[in-house]
Symmetry: C2
Subunit: 160 residues, 2 copies
């Protein structure tokens, strides 16, 4: 219960986002006996550079310029690892990936996607939209995709 506020739209100390996420990933890999290899670490760092979602091929292009891999499976494997470990989330709506903004908390993510600037803010998912229906039908939820598209406060101004 530390920081359930969505992160992405408001001005904030982004360096702390980066360092916190890298530290959390480091710690989690150590605790789970997993290798946080250069490709994996660099992939996470690339996604952490901004609160935007990047496609796998965008990430791959970056990796390529740095000599860390040039073929799709390299990027997809690194991204799959990061998603499995919860350091990165996949945005279904965009076929893209974004670094987790709450790496220190167990959570089901939910996202607000600004169609103006491309920023993706991560919020805590509240089991609202489907919990009741699942209850009444007996459906057993294993994973949820909750993504809203719209305009962030900044991008609403020009439209007004």
């Amino acid at each position: 219960m530390t920081d359930p506020a969505p992160k992405g739209f408001e001005a904030h100390d982004h360096n702390s986002c980066v360092s916190a996420a890298l530290a959390a990933a480091d710690a989690a890999c150590a605790a789970r006996g997993l290798q946080f290899t250069p490709v994996r670490r660099r992939t996470l760092e690339i996604l952490l550079e901004s609160h935007e979602a990047l496609g796998a091929y965008d990430v791959l292009a970056r990796l390529n310029t740095e000599g860390l891999g040039s073929k799709p499976p390299v990027a997809y494997r690194a991204l799959a690892f990061l998603v499995e470990q919860g350091f990165v989330h996949r945005i279904e709506r965009l076929n893209a990936f974004v670094a987790c903004a709450h790496p220190d908390q167990e959570h089901d993510p939910a996202f607000m996607i600004c169609r103006g600037c491309g920023t993706v803010a991560e919020a805590q998912a509240v089991q609202g939209g489907l919990a009741v229906s699942a209850q009444t039908t007996g459906f057993q939820i294993e994973q949820t995709v909750i993504e809203a598209e719209g305009l962030c406060p900044t991008c609403q101004a020009p439209a007004a």
Copy 2:
């Protein structure tokens, strides 16, 4: 406020699903001055055959065997039309399409996707998961994607 119950998992008179959906589409097109052409109608009928999501190329294959088109744009255009008019929903998680189960109501859809049998049940979305976060950040929601993956009541039995 007629029938907000999710439809898909429970046994039901599926013929009424089909005829209601086609009637609603007919009426809506007439009211909006849009053409409910053979390709569009047949595409909707194909999706209405079951409460499963079909990929665009699955639909295209069906259309092709019936002489209604064999190239991707034919299917994608028909699907785009049906989605725009609200007769069909896109399931982002599956890159697939499903006929609307509540064609007579204005609604933001939410879905329960059974990974066992592939059935997709449509429920009414309740603004739960993101409304609060959107409120506090000032994010203006235009569209929501709410999809849960899991096991339907029927498919839970074998696992037990």
